[in-house]
C-alpha cells in the first residue's frame, strides 16, 4: 500500500512508502525512497572457483548480491531518494549516470577524485542521495561512484528503470513484458587482491592488469545446467533492457531474429533501428523490443565478442542465455498452477518435440515431454508457483 503526498514546486518530495527494492518483472510497487545495503559476500563461479565480491542487498545484514536488485521508479514520479548503508571496509557511494543528482558533492582525496558523490563511510556509515526524475524514463545503471576502477569490478552495480507509463518505456514504445539483461565481468585476481588487502600494494598496484575471466548476464554465467532467462509468452513484445557494468564492450545478438532498438542511454532514438548486433559499450544501456516466437520456444542470446566462456574451461559458458517463454506456465498467466496441470494431463507422455523447437510440456528443454518434465512441473507448481527463474 502506498500513500502519496503531492506537493507543489518542492524539489524533494517526501513520501511515505514501504522501504525496499522491487522484485523483477510484474511486481512493482510505487516507490521513490529506497534503502540499499552494501556488503561483502562470496560468489561461486560456474567452474567452482569462489570469488570474494562486494554487492548490494535490500535488507540489513544481507544476503548481498551482484548485480543488486532492480530499482523500479513508478512512472510519473518526480523524485528518487536512495539511502546507502555501507558495511564494506571501504567508503563507497552510488551514482546513476544519466540522472540529475540534486545533491552531488564529489569527494576529493590527495588532490584526486575519490568519489563522484558523497560517500557512505566504511563499516556502518550511511548517506542519502536525491535525484530529480521529473519527466525521466528509461533504463539506467546504478553503481559505485567511489574508487570505481576497484569497486565496480568488485560487483557494486545494479539495474534501474522508470517507465513513461504503464507498459510503456518511452512515449510510443510499449511492451507486454520487460526483462533486465545486465552484462558484467569478474576478474578473480583483482577481487582476491582486494579481499586479502594487497590491492594498492606493489604486489597488486592497481586494476591496470584487469583481465576478466568470468562473464555474466544478471549475475549468472551459462553452463549445461543453466536455466533460461524467462522472458515472455508466445507472440508477446518483450522489452530487453541491456546494461553493461563491465569494462569491455559486449555485443548481444539474438539467433534467428533482429532486435528493434528504440533507445540508447535512456534516450529514445528518432527512428527505431533493426539490428543484429548491439554495441553495448561499458556503462551503456539499450532498450530493444523483440517479439517472442509463437511456439513455446527459446531464443538464443549470444554475445558476439565471444565472451561465452567460463574461466579456462573449454565449452560454452559466459554471456550466453536462452530467452524463453515459460514452459511450465502453459496458459501464460504468470503462475504455474492447476490450470496448467490440467492442460498437461491431457498431453501424451513421450511426445517428441519438433526438431529444434521445445514444445508444450517440455519443461527441461530436452526435446521430449516425459515423466521427468511432469515431475519437474509438479515440483514447480508446489514450490515455486511462478515463472521466476531461481535467483
Amino acid at each position: 500500500m502506498s500513500i502519496r503526498y503531492k506537493t507543489g514546486r518542492c524539489a524533494a518530495l517526501l513520501l511515505t512508502l514501504l522501504a525496499g527494492i522491487v522484485l523483477l518483472a510484474g511486481e512493482a510497487r510505487a516507490l521513490t525512497q529506497v534503502t540499499i545495503y552494501a556488503g561483502q559476500f562470496d560468489k561461486t563461479m560456474a567452474d567452482g572457483t569462489i570469488v570474494p565480491m562486494w554487492g548490494y542487498s535490500k535488507t540489513a545484514g544481507g544476503p548481498y548480491k551482484s548485480p543488486g536488485d532492480p530499482i523500479v521508479v513508478p512512472s510519473g514520479e518526480t523524485s528518487l531518494e536512495i539511502t546507502l548503508v555501507n558495511t564494506l571496509p571501504e567508503d563507497t557511494s552510488i551514482v546513476i549516470p544519466g540522472l540529475n543528482s540534486t545533491t552531488m558533492t564529489p569527494d576529493f582525496r590527495n588532490g584526486r577524485v575519490f568519489s563522484f558523490d558523497a560517500v557512505a563511510a566504511a563499516n556502518g556509515g550511511s548517506t542519502t542521495y536525491a535525484y530529480d526524475v521529473t519527466g525521466v524514463s528509461g533504463t539506467f545503471l546504478y553503481l559505485s561512484g567511489a574508487h570505481i576502477s576497484k569497486q565496480i569490478p568488485m560487483g557494486l552495480y545494479g539495474p534501474m528503470k522508470k517507465d513513461f507509463a504503464a507498459n510503456t518505456a518511452y512515449d510510443g514504445v510499449s511492451y507486454d513484458r520487460d526483462v533486465f539483461l545486465l552484462y558484467s565481468e569478474i576478474d578473480p585476481e583483482l577481487n582476491q587482491a582486494v579481499a586479502d588487502g594487497s590491492f594498492g600494494t606493489p604486489a597488486y598496484p592497481s586494476s591496470i592488469d584487469y583481465e576478466p575471466r568470468y562473464f555474466l548476464i544478471n549475475g549468472k554465467s551459462f553452463s549445461p545446467t543453466s536455466q533460461s532467462t524467462r522472458t515472455g509468452q508466445p507472440g508477446e513484445d518483450v522489452l530487453l533492457r541491456f546494461l553493461n557494468a563491465g569494462t569491455e564492450m559486449h555485443a548481444p545478438t539474438l539467433v534467428g531474429r533482429y532486435m528493434t532498438v528504440h533507445a540508447m542511454d535512456a534516450k529514445p532514438l528518432p527512428y527505431a533501428k533493426q539490428l543484429l548486433a548491439l554495441e553495448l559499450s561499458p556503462q551503456k544501456t539499450f532498450d530493444a523490443v523483440v517479439t517472442m516466437p509463437n511456439a513455446q520456444a527459446r531464443v538464443p542470446l549470444m554475445e558476439r565478442r565471444l565472451h561465452m566462456t567460463n574461466g579456462s574451461q573449454p565449452g560454452n559458458g559466459g554471456m550466453f542465455t536462452y530467452l524463453s517463454v515459460c514452459p511450465a506456465d502453459i496458459d501464460g498467466n504468470g503462475a504455474i498452477d492447476r490450470n496448467d496441470m490440467l492442460t498437461l494431463a491431457q498431453l501424451p507422455l513421450g511426445t517428441v518435440c519438433e526438431e529444434g523447437i521445445p514444445c508444450i510440456g517440455d519443461v527441461n528443454y530436452d526435446g521430449v515431454y516425459n515423466q521427468t518434465d511432469l515431475s519437474l512441473f509438479l515440483t514447480m507448481m508446489r514450490s515455486v508457483r511462478t515463472c521466476q527463474t531461481t535467483p
Binding site: 555485443a251 545478438t253 558476439r304 526438431e355
Partner: protein, 522 residues
Amino acid sequence: MMHNTLKILGTFCLAAVLLLALGSGAQAKIPGVSGPVINLVASDGHILAGDGQTIYMWGFGEQGKLMQYPGPTMILNQGEAVTVNLQNNLTVPVSIIFPGQADIVATGGTQGLVTMEAVPGGSVSYSFTPATPGTYMYQSGTNPALQIEMGLMGALIVRPADFDPVNPTAYGAGTGTEYDYEFLFFNSEVDHRIHEMVEFGNMAEANETPFFPYYWFYNGRTAPDTWAPAGAPWFPHQPYDTQPRIHPNEKMLLRHVGGGRDPHPFHHHGNNSTKVAADGKLLSSNGTAADLAESRFTHTVLPGGTMDLIFDPWIGAELGWDVHGHLRTDPLATDEEGTSYEIIAEAGLTNALTDTGTTLQLDPVLADEFPHNRPFRAILWNQASGSLTAEASPEMMLLRRKHGGAIGEFDILKRGTDYESHPARSWDPGAGAVVVTATYHGAGFPVLLPDQKDLTFGFMYSGSPFLGAMGSLPVGEGGFNVNNGLAFMFHSHNEKEMTNNDIFPGGMMSMMIVEPKGTVIE
C-alpha cells in the same frame, strides 16, 4: 634504424613484386557460390600470414574443394529458396547459423546449442528463403567462442529481386544503393596461440577467455597478401583478394562483414563513403530509400554485424592541380559512360565585377553546391564563347565563401597576376551570361618536383602525379602500378591492426586504385 626500415621495406617490396605485378588479375566481381543447393564441407587446413606464419584453421569449403578462410561467399537471390548441406570432416560437432535470415528449417543432425549440428563425420541441412536483400554472414553455431575464432564463418549476399547486373543496386531500384563495382571486406582477427592448442590436440587449453589477437585479415588474408590475385595458387586456403578498383566518377559498394569478435573502424582515403545499410537493413525512415544514410570517412563494423558503404565517386576534385595534366583549352575528362566529371559546381555571375573587385555574387540556389568552408579555384568565362575551354580571355580565381555574407557571396582571395597570371578584367553579367565554374581543370602542378635523388618512393608511385601517366623512376623502383592509377589506402584505423605479429605493414590494409579510363576492370 634507417637501415632496418629500408630492409623491411625492401623485403616487403620483394614479396609484393611477386604479387602486384599480377595486379591486372584482380577480381572486381565478388566470387562465391549460389543456390538452390550449396554443399559445404567443414574441415581443417593452414593459412599463411604476411610474416610467414602458418596458422591452423577450421573452415568451410565447397564440396570437392579445399577448406577456405573465410568460407565460400554465398550469393543468393531474394525470394529464392536455398538448401545448404553441411558435411562435417572435423573431429568436433559443427553447425551453421544465418544471422538475419528467418524461418530456417534444419534437418538431420543432432540438437546443439542453438541449432541442429552435424556430428564428426555426419551431416546436417539447412533450408531457408532469403526474404530481404543485403549483406549478411553465416557462422558456426556450435561452441561459437572457439569455432568462430578457428574460422568457421563466411559472407552471405542476397541480391534484390529486381537485380540487374548491368545497373546493379544493393537493395533494389529507388533505394539509393546503385553502384558500378562491389567489393567484399570480410573482417576478422586471430589469436594464433589458441589455434596452436587446437592443432596439437590440447583442447582443454584451447580457450577463448585470454584472447589477444596477433593477426588481422581482410577476406582471409593479411596485408600485403590482400592484393595478391584472387585464387592465387600459393594461397590454397585463402582464395579471396581485397583490391578495390574503379575508374573516375564511378561508385563502389563496399560490403563489410564483422566476422571476428572485435569492432573495426574502416577508414578509406580519397573520399567519404555513405553507409546506406547496417546488418542488412537500409538506414531508412520509411523502408523505401536510404534517407538516414551517413556520410563519413570512417565507419565501424561491429562483430556479428555488417555494413554497406557506397564510396563517393572519385573525381580528383580538389587535389589542387588538374590530375589529368590538362591545359585549360583541353577537353574536359569524361568517365566510362562519357559523363564529364571535372566540374565541382557551376553558377551564373549576378553582380557586375570590375578588374579590381573583391567579391563575387552567384545565383543563390546554385551557389550552395560550391565548397562551403575552404578556398577553391574557379574559372570565369562568357557563355557566348561556347565553353570554358573555348573562352579566349578567361579569368582564374581563388574564391572562398564569404563568412557572414549573403547567400551566394564569395570573397575573391586571388586573381590576375596573383593567380595563374591571367590579366584581371571586368565581367558584365548583363551582356551575355557570365559563368563561374569551380574546377581544377587546367590548373598546373603547384610545386616543382624535387630531383629524384632527393625523393623516397612509395611502392605505388608511377613516377608522375597525373592519372594514367608514367614518369621516370630510379632503377629498381616501380612496376607495381601497371596502369599508372592513383592509390588510396583502405585500412582499419586501429593502427595496431595493420601489423602482422608486430611487423608493419600488415593486417587490415589494402589499396584502392583509381585507374585511368579504359583500364579493364572485370
